[in-house]
């Protein structure tokens, strides 16, 4: 690539477990906060941004094309454009690589990319039968008609479908995400104890990294409330996580024979990430010093029932394309969708040094707001490369529906 995409700066909101501190903020609000903080931190003129590209899996229905809503609310001019992208858990990566493709095709050179997710605000929905009856009620005329329509309802019509659960289930394989992890745990013979150990490590590393991670976080100020209560740090990491505590948890996806628990899975989380990216030449022209460069990427397809193995093929494909694999880079991030899944990937690749993997913790401790995670992995890896004097990083994730994603980043 002759004029690659560089990352100039990035900011993210704290990542908080769904239903907790950020639950009241919709995905567009979270994204707006991140973009506003990014623009304020850099002093970058929003009028120079060509397009905003954001990953978001559960788009709020009141803010369709959430990237556009975020862009306008964050003060970008109406003449800029925006698009929301969706590649499940790799949506955050998709935003970055889409910007790179725009650049290659001559459709813009300065972008704000990232991802946002409010898993707290994924709605409850009525069953199709219930929705039909509501429709009939609206159309009914006169008291007799309305009464008849009301009488058609049954108690079970009011039991909602939990859209979040539906969203985390792959319709092609019929398995939900946790069930795919159980498949890998069985096939690769990954014990409960090993998964819990991995989970513990994630928490320990994240807790130890709190001050470092604080460098990339912007505070979130919650509306209303009696006490002023800024949200300034990630809520997921547990400094006193222990094997005993993890052992107490029961398997969630296979109650009788399973080993995947809430403790060794990624957390369901709210959060947003915003990155200022542009053509390398643009950064030079504007006198900006980037924090890294996108040196290559790969997306691969695999069996949806074993989606957790996605990074294996993706990292291999990336190595074929760029010459850099897990063994030759300074840092590796493999998104911790589930401990079992990461361990299965590690077994398959066999050349991933543990001391360079997820060094500041991963999604088990920090959380996995699905649309934003790819952007967070990128930001965290680049910041960490900066602390280590530069080098290369591979950031990757498995993708629900059976894909893998991997990006090669450079900070030289």
């Amino acid at each position: 690539m002759s004029d690659p995409l560089v990352i100039v700066e990035g900011v993210r909101t704290p990542f908080c477990k769904a239903g907790s501190d950020l639950a009241a903020l919709a995905a567009d609000e979270l994204g707006r906060i991140a973009v506003d903080a990014l623009l304020t931190k850099t002093g970058f003129d929003p009028a120079l941004v060509d397009e905003v590209i954001f990953g978001c899996v559960c788009q709020p229905v009141e803010a369709q094309n959430v990237a556009r809503v975020i862009a306008l609310r964050a003060g970008l001019p109406q003449s800029s454009t925006a698009a929301t992208v969706h590649r499940n858990c790799a949506s955050g990566f998709e935003a970055i690589t889409t910007a790179a493709e725009r650049l290659l095709s001559g459709h813009g050179s300065i972008f704000i990319v990232g991802g946002t997710e409010s898993m707290s605000q994924v709605p409850l929905i009525y069953t199709k039968e219930a929705a039909k009856k509501f429709g009939a009620l609206t159309r009914a005329r006169g008291y007799a008609g309305k009464l008849a329509a009301i009488a058609a309802f049954r108690p079970w019509d009011f039991k909602p479908r939990v859209a979040l659960k539906l969203g985390l289930t792959d319709p092609v394989s019929g398995l939900n995400m946790g069930e795919t992890a159980e498949v890998l745990a069985r096939e690769f013979r990954i014990s409960r104890a090993r998964q819990d150990e991995f989970a513990l490590l994630s928490h320990q590393r994240a807790a130890a990294a709190e001050a470092r991670l604080a460098e990339e976080i912007c505070p979130v100020y919650l509306p209303g409330g009696k006490a002023a209560h800024p949200v300034v740090r990630d809520h997921g990491p547990r400094p006193n996580q222990s094997m005993e505590a993890l052992a107490k948890l029961k398997p969630v996806f296979d109650r009788r024979h399973g080993s995947v628990t809430a403790g060794n899975s990624s957390q369901i989380t709210d959060g947003a990430v915003a990155l200022l990216v542009m053509a390398e030449s643009q950064a030079a022209a504007l006198g900006l010093k980037p924090i890294g460069r996108l040196a290559g990427w790969a997306y691969t397809g695999c069996d949806p029932a074993r989606m957790g193995l996605g990074p294996v093929s993706a990292i291999r494909k990336l190595q074929d394309a760029t010459g850099h694999g897990a063994g030759s880079v300074e840092l590796i991030e493999i998104n911790e969708a589930f401990a079992a899944q990461v361990l299965a990937v590690l077994q398959s690749l066999a050349d991933v040094p543990e001391d360079r993997l997820n060094v500041n913790g991963g999604a088990i401790a920090l959380g996995h707001p699905v649309g934003a995670t790819g952007a967070r992995l990128t930001l965290t890896a680049l910041k960490e490369l900066g602390r280590r004097g530069g080098g290369r990083a591979i950031v990757s994730a498995c993708v629900g529906g059976g894909q893998g994603a991997a990006l090669l980043l450079e900070r030289l």
């Binding site: 707006r32 506003d36 903080a37 623009l39 304020t40 931190k41 850099t42 002093g43 003129d45 609310r73 964050a74 003060g75 505070p219 100020y221 919650l222 509306p223 209303g224 409330g225 002023a228 209560h229 800024p230 300034v232």
Partner: protein
Amino acid sequence: MELIHTEALDSGIHVLTFDRPNSGANIFDVETLTELDAKVSDIGQSATGIVFISAKPSIFIAGADLRALESLTGDALRDFIALGQSVFNRIAALPCPTVAAIHGACVGGGYELCLACRRRIATAARATKIGLPETQLGILPAWGGSTRLPRLIGLQNALDIILGGKTVPAKAALKRGMIDDIAPQESLRDAALQWLAKPTPAKRRRHSLDRLSVKVIEPIARRRMLEKSRGHYPALPKALEVITLGINDSIAVSLQREREAVLELAATPECRNLIRVFHLQERAKKLRVPGAGTPAPIARVAVIGAGLMGASIAQWLSARGLRVLMRDIDPERVADGMRRVSGLYRDAVKRRLLDATEARDGMDRISPVTGETPLDAVDLVIEAAVEKMDLKKRIFARLDETTPPHTLLATNTSALSITQLATSTSHPERVVGIHFFNPVHRMPLVEVITGNGTSTETAASALRFVQAIGKMPVLVHDSPGFLVNRILLPYMVEAADLFAQGGAVQEIDSAMLDFGMPMGPLRLTDEVGLDVAQDVAATLAAAFPGHMHLPAVLDRMLAGKLLGKKSGRGFYLQSKGKTVPNPDAAKYRDSSSGPVPDRAGMQRRMALLMVNEAARCIAEKVVAEPADVDFAMIMGAGFAPFRGGPLRYADSLGAPAVVDALRAEAAQSGAHFTPCDLLQEMSAANRRFYDDP
């Protein structure tokens, strides 16, 4: 010169368009009324319908010509009033249907024209405001408004509008029945013509109900009005009388009563002063710094400090469309500020000043920040941090380094010297004071304070900025206490002293409520905070030891943790949701107290201290003109508007009387009452502050 165009359509409908040449507004002066009368007479019998509409972009008709009101007297004034009434009567009596198509300001006489029409259609634009605010100028609607409005919308509703002097937006006007329909601006004329094609009869109200209920409504309205106005605004009881009597009389008799009432009111000093206040407001909106060019507009502002004032200022600016960076030292302070901002927006939505989307857009325009961020794109910085000179100096020194040369550096300080603060920067010419009053969303006045080094360009930019955000500026030169606080302090100190000597809290406050202040001085001290008041008193006592002192009683009360409203107790406390005098405060009085003056005496002392200090501000050239002092005291401290301000008040007494009274007080109570040199000179030469009568 034609003021009204007539257009005759094929259908026999006539469109009368008000379009005063060389003006952005339409008003009803003698010429316009005469022309209207002639045109309506011409077409009245043959027309199948008439539309009244305006060609101005944001004004329908802005009411009667104020200059006529001020300059005409006796018969000339009587004729002017009679002319308006007869023209509108003619319109009301037309055989054909009539419709007023309203876009923009439609107030006073402008709306009285609409009341004479059979139908009123308005646009829901921001600029469209409908009402009868004559009582705010000390008169009452005298072109049929006091007669026709109650018959249209009911007695209670009409009293609310007229006594309250309210102007309302179109949606509210529709709800109250003041208009009949709302149409978009592009189709306003068509909507009027459409109705004329199939006109509906005029709305007939069940008037009989009002005829009975007036007996109940009148005393309640009278009591409420007296509570609020304390007998100071003769227009209010007069308007109440005209409206309630008019319910039970014929239209002709009621109109006659309107005429007599307005003639009586127009001659009162209250009316004169209220019209002057109106002119002062217009003056403030157009105020310019002499010799400066046109300053560049300010689009991005940084507010340093997210406390009470910082957050309030940030909210006001963001609501006016500016992008604001609000900065403080840690997330907790910023969070407090954001909470305050969102509370202010919530209140604004509750009071229907904004809708939920506008409030959200306003919040979006605020970027909360801790620590330093690039300020290259910021046009103006307003520092609103703690009132400590060394802290402010450090902030300004750093701002001097981190902002581009075009950025104005302003401070919201109420007490510290702008000149001194400017010395901590290498460019004192861009340092200026922009002093907001508390609460920001309610107080329209802003003091723009020039230090010794402030350039004319900076002053001009600050002035334009204040006007652009919908506030009214007064240009003040750097001096301790600036203008408003300097004049208020001796008044508040005297109130504290009177209390210390044994005066009752409610007596002292009532004395000044009787005078026409919106709030008593002890209540004001509680609101501001005894600590803040004492701080300012200390600054002024140090700067003017000859006539300013610190009231010892405040020190004692502060030692006893009586801080005022912020701590829940001061001179007053909250009890069962009501504010009542604090019985505990009594123990802080002086141990030996002498005789306390009666209410009139207290009032005299406190009012004259304000006059004396105001005169000093003129003598020291803190402001350029007496009009600046009076305007600032009315808009910034609520000084009795019907008195025209402290210097108008002084003129109404005459300098000799003021000087004599002050000397008498000085002999009795201390040298701080001694009349200042300027007053003594004016007394000797029999001069006045103002040349106009």
